[in-house]
């Protein structure tokens, strides 16, 4: 059990959405779910801060949402499928979000994917890169 969870920590650049993350991110992710309704998307777009105040998140989580800092949201318990509702509300695809999270310009990211994607070499284990 412990081994099960610890094994994932060795994977670079990856946060596994386990119990710890799920508990941390519960209200952040539930806020994201609320964006599945058109009227809520409108309300959020009209006044992001006011909308976020209605959800019992931490201020850190609210700031990360406003900054559209998806890596930070993930660190604070956000799950990518939930966070994608923010992307959808902004009119952004998963690929746009990926470019934000990897810090690579969108066109460059797209070209990487067309060339076969990010290689697993050096990306399997944190120990590979030491």
């Amino acid at each position: 059990m412990k081994d099960y969870n610890e094994a994932f920590n060795d994977v670079p650049g990856t946060v596994i959405f386990d119990a710890t993350q799920s508990r941390l991110g519960f209200h952040l992710n539930q806020f994201c779910m609320s964006l599945m309704k058109e009227e809520n998307r409108e309300a959020f777009k009209a006044d992001e801060k006011a909308y976020l105040q209605k959800h019992p998140m931490t201020d850190e989580q609210r700031d990360a949402v406003i900054a559209r800092d998806f890596n930070r949201m993930i660190a604070l318990g956000g799950n990518i499928y939930f966070l994608a509702k923010i992307g959808a509300t902004d009119g952004h695809s998963f690929q746009k979000l990926a470019s934000l999270m990897t810090g690579v310009p969108e066109e460059e990211y797209r070209d990487m994917m067309l060339a076969g994607g990010r290689s697993p070499e050096g990306n399997r284990s944190k120990s590979e890169n030491r």
């Binding site: 994977v11 650049g13 386990d18 810090g103 994607g117 290689s119």
Partner: protein, 280 residues
């Protein structure tokens, strides 16, 4: 009795749905992908399944964090396409097969699978994109669909072995249903992809191709592969591939590979597709 005649595996990338819905299937980026499904569209028109048991995962559409079923079976009369944040996909309503779905629910629960029975549920791209890939853009889907939603979002997902055995239990249930029906089972999701964090964009063609070989020829071996191997090799969202094992478990151990297609990329994802047919 109903017959489980074949299985289909396919990725269910949301961008594929968007490409179809926005009429982009002839663009250079998408053309090779859709061409890979030309054979399949013809094949399934000849096979004419009456019912498809469609194994997929919900992507925070029907299930929030309030309630997360490991295995859920849709027993409703129909299922609406979900609004995933950009409005409902303009695809036909998904018509269920309540009699067979309830029969599978009962049979698998008595076989000690702890199913969640669902009588109201919206279905997201995980279910509708495979339908579009196989059936194109009809007025109405040409068969009934029984959704089986598997949790692969909240860790831990079910083990590969559990998925494989659920497939076997589904087969047994189908073959004890007293109606002359041609039933297929589809396993969807994957192949290698990671949507989150600095490692987003990971694709592992070697792993994917080995997986395609193994799921056909050595499903029992593949069923033993632990979650960490999927995450390490196929990216954090590559874990969706465990769902293919449910499809595979419902087929004969020795199966005919009718068709295979593999393509990189669709958005962030490697696309894999198999058509398998029982010899018996």
């Amino acid at each position: 009795m109903a017959r489980l005649t074949g299985g289909i595996a396919t990725s269910h990338v949301p961008a594929i749905g968007v490409a179809i819905d926005l009429g982009k299937t002839n663009e250079d980026y998408w053309k090779p992908l859709f061409a890979g499904y030309d054979f399949s569209k013809k094949w399934i028109k000849e096979e004419k399944p009456d019912v498809v048991i469609l194994v997929y995962n919900d992507h925070a559409s029907a299930f929030s964090l309030e309630l997360i079923p490991t295995f859920a079976i849709g027993c409703a009369e129909s299922f609406q396409p979900a609004d995933e944040g950009w409005g409902h996909r303009k695809v036909p309503v998904v018509e269920g097969h309540p009699e067979l779905a309830w029969h599978i629910a009962q049979s698998t629960i008595l076989d000690e699978f702890d199913m969640t029975i669902i009588n109201k549920m919206d279905v997201d791209h995980g279910l509708t994109v495979p339908l579009s890939l196989m059936f194109g853009e009809p007025e109405k889907w040409p068969c009934k669909i029984i959704p089986i939603a598997v949790n692969v979002v909240q860790y831990p997902p079910p083990t590969g072995n559990r998925c494989y055995n659920l497939g076997k239990a589904i087969r047994k249930a189908v073959e004890s249903f007293d109606a002359d029906l041609n039933v297929q089972i589809w396993g969807t999701g994957g192949m290698s992809h990671q949507l989150q964090g600095p490692r987003a964009g990971l694709i592992n063609q070697e792993f994917d191709n080995q997986f395609l070989d193994r799921i056909v020829k050595d499903p029992e071996g593949q069923a033993k592969v632990p979650h960490i191997d999927y995450v390490r090799e196929a990216g954090s969202e590559g874990i969706e591939l465990v769902m293919w094992l449910i499809m595979r478990g419902a087929l004969d151990k020795d199966v005919e590979e009718v068709y295979r297609f593999y393509h990189v990329p669709a958005s962030n994802t490697a696309v894999g597709h198999l058509i398998l047919k029982n010899k018996t």
